[in-house]
Amino acid sequence: MAMIELRNVKKCFKKPVRKPGILGMFKTLFSMKYTVTEAVKDISFSLNEGEIVGYIGANGAGKSTTIKMMCGILTPTSGEIYVDGYLPYDPKQRKHVLGKIGVVFGQRTQLWWDLPLVESLTILKQIYDIKESDYQERFDFIKEVLDLTPFLSQPVRTLSLGQRMRADLAASLIHNPKILFLDEPTIGLDVLVKDKMIQAIKDIHQRYHTTIVLTTHNMDDITDLCQRVIILDEGIILYDGPLKMLKNKFGDIRHIKFTCKEKFDTNVFKHHFDGLCDVVLEDETYSIAFDISKISINQVLKVILDNASVSDISIVENSLESIVKTIYETKKY
């Protein structure tokens, strides 16, 4: 059975029409005019147990709204969401869902500001009614992977951003949730801390087989963690499938960049490959993009080296980032 299932979910927000100025503010108080914005238009997908899914989309695409609906913080305007068989936003069924999910909102902390981290975790142990032995086992593991020991007894308000984020992740995992929602967990982190976070998420997934939904703007996180991605734009799903397929669909593009000592005639490429590759000259660097399923890299390099006196050269793989950028820009997959 699917762990999470969304069926034709739609979410509209009603906002009062605001008029400018003080007088306008008073008018707003009494006016009944609303504008309706559709944050999520029509979304359906289902996730299996143990899957890690990258949920990506531009700002305002409706990612956070969907996550909030899956946690039961928001109720969909129409459609249904089943989390482990229950509706999370239904007041009677909520309690079955709450113990099974863990959430990290990278933008805000859910820890108790004035308390040492260790106390926050003890409180969570009470709230979720965790058995002492289970708690100890998980606590030791999480402490190890997230490297919490140095700041375990410090009040949360004194933690650095990286430490706080690790603390938040620990807090969301202590009750061993079946499902973990990570809403931009690496926002604002430096490369080192970020790598640590990603590694920790991997370790946790391997050990507890948690279903993970990850939203992020950092495509490296997605490539490191997810086999499956869902791309959202303006409230509808543009792509839902394996990460590999996405790359194949957009072609396995390579970019060769090189600089030369002398001016170089780009018409040579037109002559050899007849429109199968793009050549751009930017700041004295030539950039050639081509699909390696159509032209062999060997040929291209040969042409370059035969015709130009190269002073520097590099080959770059088409990144997920550039694929996603194309999707966002063209609005189609």
Binding site: D114, L115, Q126
Partner: protein, 274 residues
Amino acid sequence: MKPKNIKKYMAFSKAGILSGFAYKFSAFGWLLGDAISLMILYFLWKAIYQNASSDVINGMTFEEMVSYLIYARIGTTLVFSTASFWIIGEDIYEGNIAISLIRPINYRYRLLATSFGNFLSALILMFVPLMSLSMLLFHFTLEIPIPGILNFGWFFASVILSFMIADSLNFLIGEMALFTNALFGLMIIKNITLSFFSGSLLPSSFFPNWLEITMKFLPFQSMIETPIMILMGKLEGYQLLSTFLMQFVWVFVLNAVCNLSFNAMKKRVVSVGG
């Protein structure tokens, strides 16, 4: 509530105590401020009584008046130790209400439990030192007797109910942050109103007749005046019973109002968005 649930909430009380102690230096600051204002109160009323035409004002002698005001002042540190107003106010302001719904725990009782922790830390850090000091001073300078054990027992029972009433009112006023972001202004209005009507500035016998009667039907008096009168041994037998009953009624009524209004707010948050 089931015993298993109570344990959940006890964790928050513990957190409340810990965060109370986390700011122990600010507690010392409050302590000093309170000690100074108690001294000012004492000298102010000394001057008033010296210039009054009789030894008794509104049925109270100087000793009774001063001990009432000072006990009331100290009692305020306990009853108004609740942090619910700030917690809910800031949670609304920062849009955290929605997120707090992720935890399998009742928000309203969570705040009550946290505030109870603050209550306990105020008891240890403020109430005990201030109260013992003033009782000793009273005893040796003004020869006011130290209240008996039984009075203290009733007083604490009453103060806990007072605290629950004060917490509900704070919660309700805190919910107003939904309409205005002026938390600080709201707090000042709230503090002045509550301290005036609860009898923390003056006993209600000083109010005009109509107001004194109106006050009997409102929850405010139950907060400060009732427990202090009990401590001073002014209420006994039937009167004691009826004031306790009154407090119980208010605890239940206000608690119901809190739950209803919070559920309404939750619905709004869940359907409209944080």
